[in-house]
Subunit: 340 residues, 3 copies
């Protein structure tokens, strides 16, 4: 079950070059491609003639041509040409999807009915265009349902157990961090502050700290993506709760788009401010983030395989589950609202 | 659903040396082997004792010996020996299949009832024994149902999109070729003629043409196999519709035998006449044909995976589907006739 | 269907070092680990919080700590610590299993009800601690149900067909061996004697024989494991039926523990007495036994795949099946007795 009438992340703009891309969203196979006008379009990934994936075809100025018998489709989904045949039947078309590109993120609108149009703009993510930051990212694939990734990102207490090699740090401090959970509309915010803690490996590799650090983790959940603002300053150097704070900043974008009921696309970027004396630190931040998210993937996929083994086993909640559980209730409500 | 009481291709004679071969036909696992008398026999691939595949066993003068406890089976399916035991129970036997070898093609009769005998000879394919041609072939496996391969072979308009590297040529000319579809009994014939067209890569690699060519494609569909006679002559050098035509001739045999409901054996040979100045052209013809059929396999398997994704999506027909659709109706009728 | 209220083999003591081991027994995923006190414990392999396998966690003095949020479990299954949380809910626990280590074999009690306690000691296997023998072993995995492995071990007549490279020997002699089958309680014994036979490769590689040998095979089946005492002496050198017989002795332990309905753990050791002039013969015996059991695995897995192909095909019994069939009846009875 998925919440519909929502924008979901479909990719990053830099992925779309001369070849179409096949991706399934919410159980619907879609082909995405750059049009002759330079925008990005999305169609049902199936030729209406003999069902070959259109993503096996080739891009032309006017659209996407099927690789079997050459039917040509416009970005609107209409068939423009059936080679060797004059008349093009009215049924010769495939379903189009509405796409919006914003801050280098490609969004797709997943309507509750075919043809349903967006009732709002695609989300903004200004960090990608903020000159104070540089960013890089990647697309990962999970053999696990999307909500397990939400759980993971909304509960950073796991850093001390899962990510000791990168952004972890002392497990005890993480589990006892001052934590505040806020809810507003369909957004859940989890705010965590850890004064005077040891800097973890990624932080010392990317920034110069004098010793202990004041560390913050501010997570904002939205159905389709999470924004995570983490960072640290030298202990006592200023308020770590103030958005104008100094020090080292990592800003994560996490697009979590269901592929199927049991698999998920994970579109992430990490942005950081640059330390004046460390020109290469962005490479370090990217590599350590990639490593961190690979560690999460190992844990979450193992968790899901085990949930399948123990079908009806009960789970208990602990103190870290407040944020994840609120997000789950928002999703349940959005699913109910768009189901009927 | 399969048409029964039919000969299907089970292999090529050259495949049968000192080891038995396991192959499933129409969901029935079969072991094929060369007997002590040099003929080829086929049995249910299961020892009647503890169900080991007989294809794991070893060939002897009198038959096939199971590799677990040594039960020996005659080509008739009767158990001839149970080592260490005097009495051989009457039930100690496995189901035999009727096999016929003709023109180096191994045919198996698939009856509607176990024990049902052929009511006709296995098909002839005289090209294999025609001194004007030399031929080579191979056995491919498809993860796709057999009818998608029929569709592909009965509709050569796809050559201009799928096989540009080998036998393709100009897509437009292919899609606009003069095409005639004939039906006679259980045979469908698709005849296509393309005067004054560009010779495709395989043709120029295998023959000497002066410039443009008159090109023909004559396809004959039979439930179990297709015979495809293609070729070309210098443009204007004589009628391309006359069976006595000169020039370059490629004659394809395409045995399409269902393995299961969703997979297929594809037994193909290609025969060509030899250009007097090009002694090695048969190697070229074989290699380019192998490449061509690998391209078809990629397309058809992608098509089938996508059909599974889009379970109930409708398909539209275009002008090239006349031949394939007639073949499908013949198969439907043959299935109905042998089902009851 | 499995017989419950039984000890099954869970591993060998030497496997348990600094990391926990995940193994599924009778469809139940279990984590096994060495405790701070040096004993071996077994728990349900699932954190009660978010279902991560506990086998992904780390061992500590007090127990096993989950690798996601750090919950610490005692060998009893009780959760001892939830980092960052004072109160530990009563439901924070996982199911423990009773384990017993005897003669370097790790046994697990599989009760018919969670919490059910053993009503007998784990089986003894004194050969492992008998100074006349040295032994080595390994753990194999079968994609086949456990009873096919029982069949194989209770019927050594297959040696002449499957194991010609190691312990086979003349197939005819094997199939005609004098064979006696005895049953006592839940134990089946198959005794086979082959006077004046050719020594097989493993025997000549591990011992000095003058020529022909008197060879014995004594198999004892128990639900959870088989003990197989094979060996040979120079032909005529003394009674091969007398437990005090001389010559070359191989004693096999074969723990056969269902993993799932369709897969099995196979825990084996082979012990041999040492020939005074052949110091390295134990390596030979081990390597040839490993090869032998790999040959069995190939046969049995092929057999099972074929049984799935031929769902309802009948099987016939031959003279070698007396022992295996008695074992099957004992298992059926034990399953009935513990099912209700």
């Amino acid at each position: 079950m998925f919440a519909l009438n929502q924008w979901y992340v479909a990719g990053f703009e830099w992925e779309f070059q001369e070849r179409p891309i096949a991706r399934t969203f919410l159980n619907q196979p879609v082909v995405l491609f750059r049009t002759g006008e330079g925008t990005i379009a999305a169609l049902e990934d199936r030729c209406c003639h003999r069902s070959l994936p259109l993503s096996s075809g080739t891009l032309e100025e006017r659209g996407l041509r099927c690789g079997y018998h050459g039917l040509l489709y416009a970005p609107s989904g209409l068939c423009l040409e059936i080679p060797g045949q004059e008349k093009i039947p009215a049924r010769a078309c495939v379903r189009p999807y509405t796409v919006s590109v914003r801050n280098q993120i490609v969004w797709i609108w997943m309507p509750s009915e075919p043809g349903g149009q967006p009732d709002c703009d695609a989300p903004e993510y200004a960090v990608h265009d903020d000159p104070r930051y540089r960013y890089r990212g990647d697309v990962y694939h999970y053999d696990a349902p999307y909500q397990l990734i939400h759980d993971n990102l909304l509960d950073l207490s796991h850093l001390g157990y899962v990510h000791l090699r990168t952004i972890g740090g002392n497990a005890k401090i993480h589990m006892h961090a001052e934590t505040k959970v806020e809810e507003q509309g369909n957004v859940v915010r989890v705010l965590r502050y850890m004064p005077s803690s040891e800097p973890p490996p990624t932080y010392t590799a990317a920034w110069r700290f004098d010793g202990l650090i004041d560390r913050w983790q501010e997570i904002e959940f939205d159905l389709s993506h999470l924004r995570i603002w983490t960072g640290a300053n030298d202990a006592g150097a200023g308020s770590m709760r103030d958005a104008g704070r100094g020090g080292f900043h990592m800003r994560g974008f996490h697009g979590v788009t269901p592929e199927t009921d049991v698999s998920t696309h994970y579109f992430w970027t990490v942005a950081a401010n640059r330390h004046p004396d460390m020109p290469d630190m962005m490479d370090t931040v990217y590599e350590q983030s990639a490593l961190t998210f690979e560690e999460d993937k190992v844990v979450i996929e193992a968790q899901y395989r085990n949930m399948l083994q123990f079908q009806h086993a009960p789970q208990i909640d602990i103190h870290v589950d407040v944020g994840p559980n609120r997000a789950r209730r928002i999703i349940e409500r959005l699913i109910r609202e768009t189901a009927g």
